[in-house]
């Protein structure tokens, strides 16, 4: 028995060594990277975007809506433009498996056809691949990376990407956390809050932001953690102090939020539940009286209705900013190809991404997209969206619909 367990452990170790070695090997730029990065590419009738997202692994549940929305953007764009889009997809797997993200970054970097990138999905992945993208002259546009430090230096934390080499079509954690904390304290007037993160970078970053903001204004905050892999929350619920008024769950899977809500009520507890943008999905998280922070969505847009219809009634709104990121890249590609009279380079595309402006109707986000050139406010920096881009707070009604309250 021990021998077998030992053997399995040995196999796992070997696998880790292989993965780590591959990642280390790939951390060095491929020999042709410089040439590919500077290469002038003929636009022709089709240009290629690399889409990096978790296709497999435990976070595939997040990657699926991103891929669906990316495809929807491609279809929408190709219907009305002569310059068509093609995708190369890369499976980054997320969930702490960053060597995979590094491999995808290198594969995209050395693929001369790829002129722009949508993704990756996780902030940690961007941090680990930033130098690869920069070396390849690519400026990824992410639809889900929300860590503040990716676009803005914070006290004790330098900016994690080079300005001009990273953009995002979601407001960041600073904006979301600030908004959530202000709402809890000022609108709901709660003084005892429990924050439960799901041990992932996104969740922990947001938890910390909200915790710090709430503690600054005198709110008592207690914390706990759950694992994305274990959906039995009964004991986490049993451990919630009796005087808790609100439980904040910045998680990434709406079904987990609904499950938590049901178990909380089944245990006879009546605290208010508040989720983050990761749980923002009216077709799944329906806990009446709960709150959700999320980016505003153009619910009446024909595109959204058409997407919903094509996906069994599920709007999969978590993936919607990936639609926007593809639209940003497509617009930049069009601009660069026009300016280069049918030829362009990655550098030209990247510079044009910074200049892209999408109307509210095209972005589907509920606000127009325009990228900041420098720092703005407490949390935003170059590569973040400026203007009215922000998170809203929604209350879940008894019929499951979301109505904006903050």
């Amino acid at each position: 028995m021990l021998k077998k367990v030992g053997l399995v452990a040995l196999l796992a170790s070997l696998l880790s060594v292989v993965v780590a070695t591959t990642a280390w090997g790939s951390a060095k730029a491929p020999a042709n990277a410089g040439a590919v990065a500077a290469k002038s590419v003929k636009c022709g009738t089709k240009v290629t975007i690399g889409v990096a997202y978790p296709e497999t692994g435990p976070a595939a549940t997040l990657g699926t809506p991103q891929w669906d929305w990316a495809n929807f953007a491609k279809k929408t764009w190709n219907k009305s433009h002569k310059l068509k889009l093609a995708f190369v997809r890369g499976d980054t797997q997320l969930a702490g498996n960053n060597p995979q993200a590094v491999q995808v970054a290198h594969a995209f970097a050395s693929n001369g056809k790829i002129l722009a990138v949508s993704g990756p999905a996780g902030s940690q992945e961007m941090e680990d691949t930033a130098s690869v993208w920069k070396g390849a002259n690519l400026g990824p546009v992410s639809g889900s990376e929300t860590r503040v430090a990716l676009t803005r230096a914070l006290p004790g934390t330098p900016r994690e990407t080079t300005p001009g080499y990273f953009f995002r079509t979601v407001p960041n954690d600073g904006q979301q956390g600030d908004n959530v904390a202000t709402f809890i304290h000022k609108k709901l007037k709660k003084t005892n809050v429990r924050i439960i993160d799901d041990e992932e970078a996104y969740s922990q970053g947001l938890s910390l932001q909200v915790k710090n903001d709430l503690q600054k204004v005198g709110v008592t905050v207690t914390t706990d953690h759950i694992s994305q892999q274990n959906p039995d929350y009964n004991s986490v619920i049993a451990a919630i102090p009796g005087n808790t008024q609100l439980v904040y769950i910045p998680w990434q899977v709406p079904a987990m939020a609904q499950q938590f809500f049901t178990q909380l009520r089944a245990n006879g507890d009546h605290q208010i539940v508040m989720g983050s943008d990761g749980t923002d999905d009216p077709s799944t998280f329906k806990g009446a009286g709960s709150y959700v922070s999320g980016f505003p969505v153009q619910t009446n847009a024909p595109a959204l209705k058409s997407f919903k219809k094509a996906h069994g009634g599920d709007p999969e709104t978590f993936g919607l900013p990936t639609y926007t990121s593809v639209m940003v890249n497509a617009t930049a590609l069009q601009m660069a190809c026009n300016a280069g009279h049918g030829k362009t380079t990655r550098a030209a595309v990247r510079k044009d991404v910074a200049k892209v402006k999408l109307s509210k109707a095209v972005s589907l986000l509920g606000f127009p997209v325009v990228f900041l050139k420098g720092n703005h406010g407490k949390f935003q920096g170059n590569g973040d969206m400026g203007g009215t881009a922000a998170f809203g707070i929604y209350k879940i009604q008894p019929n499951g619909s979301y109505s904006r309250v903050g």
Binding site: K4, T56, T64, P231, S235, A238, P254, A255, R265
Partner: protein, 331 residues
């Protein structure tokens, strides 16, 4: 740091008081019962073939999905108009048979051809089946999490819970609900039936004979292949039942479910003594209790550390587990 952790635990024990203790005990017993049912599959197959069937956790996951499929076929918890008791019986029956058939199919395709191969070969095959099942379900379900919402069965979704949440009895104000009791009693009943089958029937005697010495059993006229297939069938049936119990008790089902629970159940089988049926039951219960008390008193981030720490501890101090017997080395 350590002092801080100890103070935090003491503080948390005081904060939660006796009601918290009873809640955690209840949760530990219920989730431990589920783990015990899954652990039995690991231990039975190991007892017969000395094979760590890592794919077993995913049979449990498939069982949970089959139960969900049946529930949806009757309209789902939101609008199931079918009487609740026959509905639950049908869910159990279909999931148990479906999982049993899947278990036998896996044995036939992935393990039987390797019966005489070096031991590492079926082990790798088991890992292959694990990833095959997980990826297949991922593709079939489009990576979705599905929710049973079983507590609403017979109720009025989403405002009123159904009879599964009725209190059967309370301890210090903490209710032990119908679903808690159903899970524990069904698990105990299935385990008792298994013990009866293994120790009180002719087929059980054949199983024990195959486990003791496969070649000798074959020479005595026992159909070894049939016994092995039946062992996989029974183990998988139990996993299928556990899948439906999980769905009714918890509900959030996704393709990753089998890996986490499979690992915990494997831990339970090792702690109890792999190959020992009472050991698997005891191990499941202990792992469930440890996991829930660690979550409640130390914090959710510690539960895996505690459970797998126990596994390492047991492997070092008592490699054969609590009720496992020392293997006799034949020379």
């Amino acid at each position: 740091m350590h002092h801080l952790l100890v103070f935090n635990i003491i503080d948390q024990i005081r904060t939660l008081g006796w009601p918290g203790f009873w809640s955690l005990l209840r949760n530990g017993i219920v989730s431990g019962s589920l783990l015990a049912l899954i652990a039995l599959g690991y231990t039975m197959v190991y007892g017969i073939l000395q094979l760590l069937n890592f794919a077993h956790g995913d049979i449990y996951m498939v069982g949970a999905f089959i139960g969900y499929g049946v529930l949806q076929a009757f309209g789902g918890a939101e609008m199931a108009s079918f009487p609740i008791v026959p509905l639950i019986i049908i869910m159990f029956a279909v999931a148990m048979v479906g999982s049993g058939v899947l278990g036998v199919a896996i044995e036939r395709v992935a393990y039987k051809p390797l019966r005489n191969a070096p031991r590492i070969a079926p082990l790798i095959s088991a890992l292959g089946v694990l990833f095959f099942l997980e990826s297949s379900v991922q593709l079939l379900t489009n990576s979705a999490h599905v929710l049973y919402e079983g507590v609403y069965l017979g109720g009025n979704y989403p405002s009123t819970f159904g009879p599964l949440l009725n209190s059967v009895f309370t301890v210090d104000g903490i209710p032990f609900t119908t679903v808690d009791t159903l899970v524990v009693l069904a698990a105990v009943a299935l385990m008792v039936m298994l013990v009866w089958l293994v120790y009180r029937t002719r087929f059980g005697k054949a199983m024990r004979a195959v486990a003791f010495d496969r070649e000798a059993a074959a020479m005595m006229g026992i159909d070894v292949d049939r016994v092995i297939s039946m062992t996989f069938f029974i183990g998988s049936v139990l996993a299928g039942a556990a899948g439906v119990m999980y769905g009714l008790y918890i509900g959030d089902t996704s393709f990753t479910l089998g890996f986490q629970y499979g690992l915990l159940a494997f831990t339970a089988a090792v702690v109890g003594g792999i190959g020992s049926i009472p050991g698997a039951m005891l191990g499941g219960l202990l792992v469930g209790l440890f996991q829930n008390f660690a979550t409640g008193y130390v914090g959710g981030q510690w539960s895996d550390i505690v459970v797998f720490g126990i596994l390492i501890g047991f492997l070092i101090i008592r490699p054969n587990g609590i009720l496992g017997s020392k293997a006799i080395q034949k020379v």
